[in-house]
């Protein structure tokens, strides 16, 4: 929904003026409730903005004025940020600000961008995501090819995968799984956001980058 379109014209809208945004959604409750909600919005924006990790509703709730619902604040904030250069997204179990994708070309003119993951790394990552926890031998079995240590190392270095214990077989090989950072990297709320396997198969040769 549009950000400011739904409110009445701000009554006293000096930009520097009120800490309580005049354009907050109508919220059930007395004047006090509205003020608290407006303050909650401010707090949420500042908290999520400052944090280096997605902010969970629980974490936000701890910072909000009493009686203000974290979920409601997040929903209102998300609605308000739609179309802004920096948007509120739900990712990896929490909420975080992210630049709008259409601004990437301008940003990357100035900000250094890491290299794309090579195919082998992406495939390995996908296999780990869908089959976790899985051993290296398990990954090799599915790919039908040996897995270079460098590939595993690069995923580990990017923080996309992490050890998840060992398999109780001779040699006790390490089991691998994906991390919350993996979810953040690909903008997923949880692993359930990954397409189901049937969907993957059903999908017709959409735009598969071939080797």
């Amino acid at each position: 929904m549009p950000r400011d379109a739904d409110g009445a014209p701000p009554p006293a809208a000096g930009p520097a003026a009120s800490p309580a945004s005049p354009d907050m959604p109508i919220h059930p409750g007395a004047e006090d409730g509205e003020a608290a909600f407006a303050l909650g919005l401010r707090i949420a924006e500042a908290l999520i903005f400052a944090s280096d990790r997605p902010v969970t509703p629980q974490r936000l709730a701890a910072a909000l004025p009493p009686g203000v619902d974290a979920r409601a604040v997040l929903t209102a904030l998300q609605a308000r940020m739609v179309g802004r250069p920096v948007e509120l997204v739900e990712v990896a179990g929490g909420f975080a600000f992210r630049t709008a994708p259409d601004l990437a070309p301008a940003i990357t003119r100035v900000v250094e961008v890491p290299r794309r993951l090579p195919r082998a790394a992406l495939e390995t990552l996908a296999i780990i995501a869908y089959h976790q926890p899985i051993t290296r031998a398990g990954i090799e079995e599915i790919r039908g090819a040996s897995l270079a240590q460098a590939t595993l190392d690069s995923l580990l270095e990017l923080g996309l995968i992490a050890p998840r214990g060992r398999m109780e077989v001779p040699g006790r090989p390490t089991l691998w799984g994906t991390t919350p950072r993996f979810l953040e990297h690909f903008g997923l709320r949880s692993l359930a956001d990954l397409p189901r396997r049937e969907e993957l198969v059903a999908e017709e040769e959409a735009a598969l980058p071939l080797p």
Binding site: L117, L194, R197
Partner: protein, 259 residues
């Protein structure tokens, strides 16, 4: 990619399964309904193409070729109405594997197509510390306090300049003097220990004094000034003035010095 180039090189493929999947995809049907027989022929043809060009062909490619050829022969047994159960299962396993690899490859493509953090979308570059560190408290419990006290004392003591403990070692000469002085005044048998100096707390000092005393006593016995007796091994040593003391006068003379 497909067609010609596929027959020219195996280099672009990561293992036989990769090539097989590519061939299967070329059949443009659901992977689970691919023709294994067509697949086998295409695989072997691709391999032949590579060998004609004298490309290195790794063992795994050949093993797969041999296995596929066996599979084909089992599936096409002419004399039997039905293909072998075993071969059917093997073919099924192969299609399952290909389907799984296909799914994972599509998943990888799905991931690659997403806007990635740090490439297409960006997070806050300079997150702020949301923690205020309160360092007014201290960690120290009673055991730590007591350990600190002991450590401080120990270190202070160890830091003092090293002074070897002065040893009171009784020399043979001293023992001789003592013996000569006392034996004259003592009648009858006296145990050797009673001649040792007082206040030897330390075991080592006591044993050293006893040894010196014994040497002195033996010396005196040799010169005939006294007699020695021991009733049992490790028993106490008894001594007394000899009946005749040829050198008693001489020993008496040295007494004033000793005092």
């Amino acid at each position: 990619m497909r067609g010609e180039s596929l027959h020219l090189s195996l280099a672009g493929f990561e293992g036989p399964l990769d090539l097989l999947l590519e061939l299967a995809r070329a059949q443009k049907v659901d992977i689970r309904r691919i023709s294994i027989l067509a697949l086998v022929d295409q695989y072997v043809a691709a391999l032949e193409g590579a060998r004609r060009l004298r490309l290195e062909v790794a063992a795994e490619w050949l093993v797969m070729a041999a296995w596929l050829t066996w599979l084909k022969s089992r599936l096409l047994l002419p004399e039997q109405a039905e293909p072998e159960e075993e071969a059917l299962q093997a073919a099924e396993r192969l299609t399952e594997k290909l389907a799984e690899l296909d799914a994972m490859r599509r998943a990888a493509a799905w991931l690659a197509a997403r806007a990635q953090l740090g490439r297409e979308i960006f997070a806050r570059g300079q997150p702020e510390a949301l923690q205020l560190i309160d360092r007014s408290g201290i960690v120290a419990d009673l055991p730590a306090l007591l350990r600190a006290y002991a450590a401080a004392r120990r270190r202070a003591l160890a830091a003092r300049p090293y002074r070897p403990k002065p040893r009171r070692l009784w020399s043979v000469a001293e023992a001789l003097q003592q013996l000569r002085r006392l034996i004259g005044t003592t009648p009858g048998w006296v145990v050797l220990q009673s001649f040792l100096p007082e206040g030897l707390a330390d075991g080592l000092e006591r044993r050293a004094a006893l040894a010196s005393g014994l040497v002195a006593a033996l010396e005196e016995a040799r010169s005939g000034a006294l007699e020695l007796r021991q009733d049992a091994p490790f028993g106490p040593l008894w001594l007394r003035r000899a009946a005749s003391e040829p050198r008693a006068a001489e020993s008496k003379e040295s007494l004033p010095d000793a005092a």
